[in-house]
Symmetry: C2
Subunit: 331 residues, 2 copies
């Protein structure tokens, strides 16, 4: 029910996902009175309905609700009911395009955290300049991370890159203000020391530019800087693309040029398209949780479902559980 284009984009993306992956079963969680009448219109054929189940949830978390409203006022909200399905084993994962905070609270508290994980982390899968994904986490605004949190983020991101994105031996870095080991805060230095002691391809400090140049597959950081850098990048990229569009509108000649260049520009835009990677996984919970952008269109919804499906097939949370255990003090 959540997201700027719900329930239409969500239903259309869900239908496309069912068509694309025959092994997929979906539980659509939301207000049944709203959703059921829309199913036929969005192409849910009787065949697709054999793999679709409606689960009623009365409330919807609004964008200006507090994240914690699902614990009290809105216990019967779609995100909480969906998380409950994962907790009970009726679903392997939850996908949401709604209120990010509410989805994080529902996933952390209702599905529950994995042993050895202090803080679940929201991971953003960014398209880098080599045309590959770079996983940046935490971007979920968990502020004041300690060294062990950052180290856990790094391990969880590495497992996600390997299992779900198919990156072999992901190159992992910790975001800092210089390449050299001495650069950074006590937190980043201590986190680095922890990662050097375990089996992970840890390549030391990553700098701001490394988020985009493809030199790292996974970059771990505190949620404050992760959130700022993500929001800043979205705005900058939109601003540049928007400014270029404006430049093309300047004169009849440039309009004509824009027309000629359109297919090439479209291909380029696709390379940068966040929607391709399908939402941000919340890592460190006892199940799969994928949190999409509020502005997700049908394609983004479909790809978020694909991410959840892949993660479930690879039993992502079990792989994470095994690997974060390496960070625990050994007897």
């Amino acid at each position: 029910m959540g997201g700027d284009f719900a329930p239409h984009a969500t239903l259309q993306g869900a239908r496309e996902a069912l068509e694309a992956w025959p092994g997929l079963h979906l539980l659509l969680v939301g207000n049944e009175g709203v959703i059921r009448p829309l199913l036929a219109q969005h192409g849910f054929t009787p065949e697709l309905m054999t793999r679709t189940e409606l689960v009623h949830a009365f409330h919807t978390v609004a964008m200006d609700d507090k994240a914690t409203c699902i614990l009290k006022e809105k216990k019967d909200s779609s995100i909480r009911v969906a998380a409950q399905l994962v907790r009970e084993g009726r679903a392997q994962g939850v996908v949401s395009m709604g209120h990010t905070g509410a989805a994080m609270v529902a996933s952390s508290l209702v599905i529950g955290k994995l042993e050895g994980v202090d803080r679940p982390a929201l991971a953003s899968v960014l398209p880098n300049m080599m045309g590959k994904p770079t996983v940046l986490l935490d971007v979920g605004a968990n502020v004041g991370s300690r060294a062990e949190h950052i180290a856990q983020f790094a391990v969880m991101g590495s497992v996600y890159a390997e299992e779900v994105l198919g990156v072999e031996r992901p190159r992992v870095g910790i975001l800092s203000v210089g390449e050299e080991d001495g650069k950074g805060t006590d937190v980043t230095k201590d986190a680095s020391a922890m990662l050097r002691n375990i089996e992970i391809r840890f390549e030391g400090n990553a700098e701001g530019r490394d988020i985009w140049n493809g030199d790292f597959d996974v970059i771990a950081c505190d949620g404050f800087v992760g959130n700022v850098v993500l929001k800043s990048s979205e705005a900058l990229a939109e601003g540049i693309i928007g400014g270029l569009r404006e430049s093309f509108m300047a004169t009849p000649l440039t309009k004509f040029a824009g027309l000629l260049a359109k297919p090439a520009l479209k291909r380029f835009k696709q390379k940068l398209d966040y929607a391709e990677y399908g939402g941000a996984p919340l890592l460190g919970v006892k199940g799969i949780s994928i949190i999409g952008h509020g502005r997700s269109d049908a394609k983004a919804v479909r790809n978020a479902i694909r991410a959840a499906l892949r993660a479930a097939e690879h039993r992502l949370h079990e792989r994470i559980q095994e690997r974060v255990a390496l960070l625990l003090p050994q007897d």
Copy 2:
């Protein structure tokens, strides 16, 4: 002597600055044996030489030197000698395109910090999407800032925007992970409280996107996040522009389109051009200190000198001194 294109770009930019601003006097600090033979070649006429003085400095700080080398091994480096000229009142300001760390150390320790300023801050003047400058500080990688540091950054940035960039009543924000007052760390919240108590146009939390959308004129943050966001933005912008250039090279048709669109694209690139704003001021020292990008060309050098000139004309450091005093405990 420092910078990727020194001494040629530096000399050319210096000569252009002398031509542009008749009130300007320059002391060129560096290896006299290298510089003197180049002056005529770079157009320093006898007339311009009446406003130009050469000050010899034997050493140059290399990019892989430690910032603190100017305190011991390289006491006779051009940046330290230049800072000494400011300290002695022979110059009102120093402009450097070299090693950022060395320039910061020289400015902070040789010129010295202003009373009431715990940490000088490097301010980046970024071109926002409204075609105006946004001042982001600290970007000098001073990590672990306390609330009073961030509050001082905010005040110093506000004075710079007003005095040097000509922004009337600059809108000042503190970088955080949400608009609401409750969002952020203890440090950002305490810094906000300090700014609410003084005469400054403080508009609360700024988010990552606000660095680019023009909603704030000044955004203060810890040097860790400032450094990361700046380096990340540089890489992202270059990547997008580079990717677009590649798209235009794809086919003969798109090459033709690129040709037609060239003037419009050039105008757009100019809007984004960091060089237009001329270097990053180091705020909080007892004089003017402008630190340019290592890749500065002659135009960037000229504009960095312009920034120093304007700052000197407005007695920037005295204005900062007056305003940071507002943050000190009042008897």
